[in-house]
Symmetry: C2
Subunit: 332 residues, 2 copies
C-alpha cells in the first residue's frame, strides 16, 4: 500500500525482506518481482528521477515510442501496488548494516519532516543518477528543452539527432570526445564549452580536422518555443541556430546513503556481479548506479535479476513447506 506519514507507524516493527531505494524502472521491476516471489518489500522513492524527465521512451519493447517516462512509472507503480507492495514517497538519508538486517533512515515530508527508520534483510540500490545540465541564470529555460530535443542520452536519442545541426554541451575536455561518437549520427556539430575549462591545442586541432565548431563563449539562453529548441544565444549576442542538442556533462549519482558501507566502485559506478549483487552480499545495485548501459531495458532486467537472487537465497534458507502444513487442504 501507499504509505503516508500517518500510516507508516505500523510498518516500523516490520522486518521487510527487501527495501528498494528508488522507484524508477529498475526499482519498480525489482518490486514487482519481489512481490511475485511472495516476499515483502518497500520501495522508497524521492520523486523526479531520470525517467520522470524522459519525454519519449523510444526504445523499450512493448510501449509505443511516444510513451513518456512518467507513464511507465505510473503503470509500474500501480502494478507493484496491486501485488501488495509498500510504497513511500520519501528521501533515504542513511543505511546502516546491523549485521542481520539493515536500518534505513528516511526523511518524510519537506515540511514538518519526520525521520522513521525501516528495517530489511536485503537492500536494493536503485536510486539512479541525474544528468548535470548547463547552469544558466534562468534554469527554467534549460528545463523547457531538456528531455525534449535537448537530449541527455545518445543511445536513447541519437536516432532523433541524425544529420541534424546539433549542439554538444560539455563541461570538460574529456567530454568533448563524445563528439567523435555522436558523429555516427550527425557530423554537423557545435561543441559548447561555455567557457568552463581550457581546451588543449590538440583537441582544437582534432575538432578543426573534423570540421566541428568549437564555441567557448558562455551561453545566455536556449532559444525556441513549445519545448522545441531552435538554437542558442551566447552572452555576446551571437545566435547559433540548432535543430537538436546533446548534454554530455556527467551526472550526479544518488548514493550518499551508501556511504560507510564500503561498496566496491569503478569510478562512480557500483561494481556488481551477473545478478547485480554488489561487494556486500545483501546489497544489490541496479540500472544507472552500476556499471553498464544506462537504459530502461537494462534497469528492468536488473530488477528481475536482483529479486531472483534474493528469492533464491531466502528460499534456500527457509524450511521446505510440507503438505501437512495445512490439513484443511485434504489430499484425495
Amino acid at each position: 500500500m501507499k504509505l503516508a506519514k500517518k500510516t507508516l507507524d505500523e510498518r516500523l516493527d516490520r522486518l521487510y525482506d527487501v527495501i528498494i531505494v528508488g522507484g524508477g524502472a529498475g526499482g519498480l521491476s525489482a518490486g514487482i518481482y519481489t512481490q511475485r516471489y511472495l516476499l515483502s518489500s518497500l520501495i522508497i522513492e524521492k520523486g523526479r528521477g531520470r525517467s520522470f524527465w524522459m519525454q519519449d521512451l523510444r526504445n523499450y519493447l512493448g510501449l509505443p515510442p511516444t510513451t513518456p517516462g512518467r507513464e511507465l512509472l505510473k503503470q509500474g507503480q500501480e502494478h507493484y501496488l496491486s501485488l501488495g507492495g509498500d510504497y513511500l514517497r520519501a528521501y533515504v538519508e542513511a543505511v546502516k548494516d546491523e549485521g542481520d538486517y539493515f536500518s534505513v533512515r528516511v526523511k518524510v515530508g519537506m515540511k514538518d519532516s519526520i525521520y522513521p527508520v525501516f528495517r530489511s534483510k536485503y537492500l536494493i540500490a536503485a536510486s539512479g543518477i541525474i544528468d548535470n545540465l548547463p547552469q544558466l541564470e534562468n534554469m527554467q529555460n534549460v528545463y523547457d528543452y531538456a528531455g525534449y530535443n535537448l537530449h541527455v542520452c545518445m543511445i536513447c536519442d541519437g536516432y532523433e539527432m541524425a544529420d541534424r545541426r546539433c549542439g554538444l554541451f560539455v563541461n570538460s575536455e574529456a567530454n568533448i570526445n563524445t563528439a567523435f561518437v555522436l558523429n555516427w549520427f550527425t557530423p554537423y556539430l557545435f561543441v559548447f564549452t561555455m567557457g568552463l575549462f581550457p581546451v588543449s591545442d590538440a583537441m582544437r586541432q582534432k575538432l578543426a580536422d573534423h570540421g566541428y565548431r568549437l564555441i567557448e563563449t558562455p551561453i545566455k539562453q536556449f532559444l525556441g518555443e513549445n519545448h522545441e529548441m531552435t538554437g542558442v544565444e551566447l552572452v555576446d549576442g551571437t545566435v547559433i541556430p540548432l535543430e537538436t542538442g546533446l548534454v554530455a556533462m556527467g551526472a550526479h549519482y544518488h548514493k550518499d546513503y551508501l556511504a560507510g558501507l564500503n561498496l566496491q566502485q569503478a569510478g562512480e559506478n557500483l561494481v556488481t556481479d551477473e545478478m547485480c549483487r554488489t561487494s556486500h552480499p545483501r546489497i544489490f545495485a541496479l540500472g544507472d548506479l552500476k556499471q553498464g548501459l544506462n537504459q530502461v531495458s537494462i534497469a528492468v532486467a536488473d530488477g528481475t535479476l536482483a529479486a531472483t537472487a534474493i528469492w533464491r537465497e531466502i528460499r534456500r534458507a527457509s524450511p521446505a513447506r510440507r503438505w501437512e502444513a495445512d490439513p484443511a487442504m485434504a489430499a484425495p
Copy 2:
C-alpha cells in the same frame, strides 16, 4: 518493411548489418535498437514462439499484468517496422559463415516454398525455446489449458499458483526436483510422471516425507472449461481435482540452423559474454537460448546489449564522419 515472396528479391543482393533469427521479445528489442543505431537489419520469424502462447505477461514493467504475449509482439513488430527494419515470416534452415559475412538460407511459405539466401555481417540468434508438453492423444486438450492456468514457467506464474492444489507434470526423475522449489509457492502438490520413467525409491521417500502425491498412471485428459483447468482424468478413470498446474518437461531449443558453427554450449544453452556474444565473434545469442533466466525482461535487455555491441564494433571500424561530408549543411 514486411517482406513477402514477391518483394524479397530486391533484398538478396543486400548485405545487412544484422540478421536476427527470431521475432520474439529478444529479437524485436535487438531489431529496434539496431535500427535506432542506423544499422540495417532483417528479422526472420517463424511464428508461434514461446511468448506468442503466453496468455498473461504478468511481470514486465510498463504493461498491465493482463497483457497477452501476442500484444507485446504486435506492438514490437509495429515499433520495429516504423524504424525501417525488414521483417520476414519464414523459417531459417541454415547459416553458413562465409568469412566476412553469413549466408542465411530460409524457407518461405509452407506451400510452393522458396529458399532464398540472405547475407549479413552479424547474426543474432533469438529463436528461443518451446516447452515440451504432455503428449496426449488429443493435443488440443493440452493446448486448451497450456499458458492459461496450466503454466510452463514457475518464475513467471508461481504467484498465481500460491497455496493452490497444483499438478506438476514431469518426464524425468531430475524434473521431479522442481517440486522442492515449487513448494515455496504451494505445498499441495501432485506429481504426475505419466508412467514415462521409473521413480527411484529415494525419490518416492522424499516425496512422501513432504506429503506430496506421486501419480504414475498415464493421463487420459485434462478437465475444465473456458481454458480453466480443474483437474486431470487418468486412463484408469480416476479424477484428480486441481486448481493449477506446472509443466516441467524440459524444452526444445530452436537452434538447428547453428549446427556446424561450433558455438560453445553449456548443456543446451549457448555460452555468451556480458554483451551476449557467443564464442563466435560475430554471432550473438539472446534470451532463452543463452544461459540465465528465461524472462521477457531479460530477453529485452539482451537485445539492447547485443545491438549495442554490434553498433560499437561497426562504428569503430567506420571512417569518422566529417562536417565536409555534406557541404549543403553550411556552417554559420
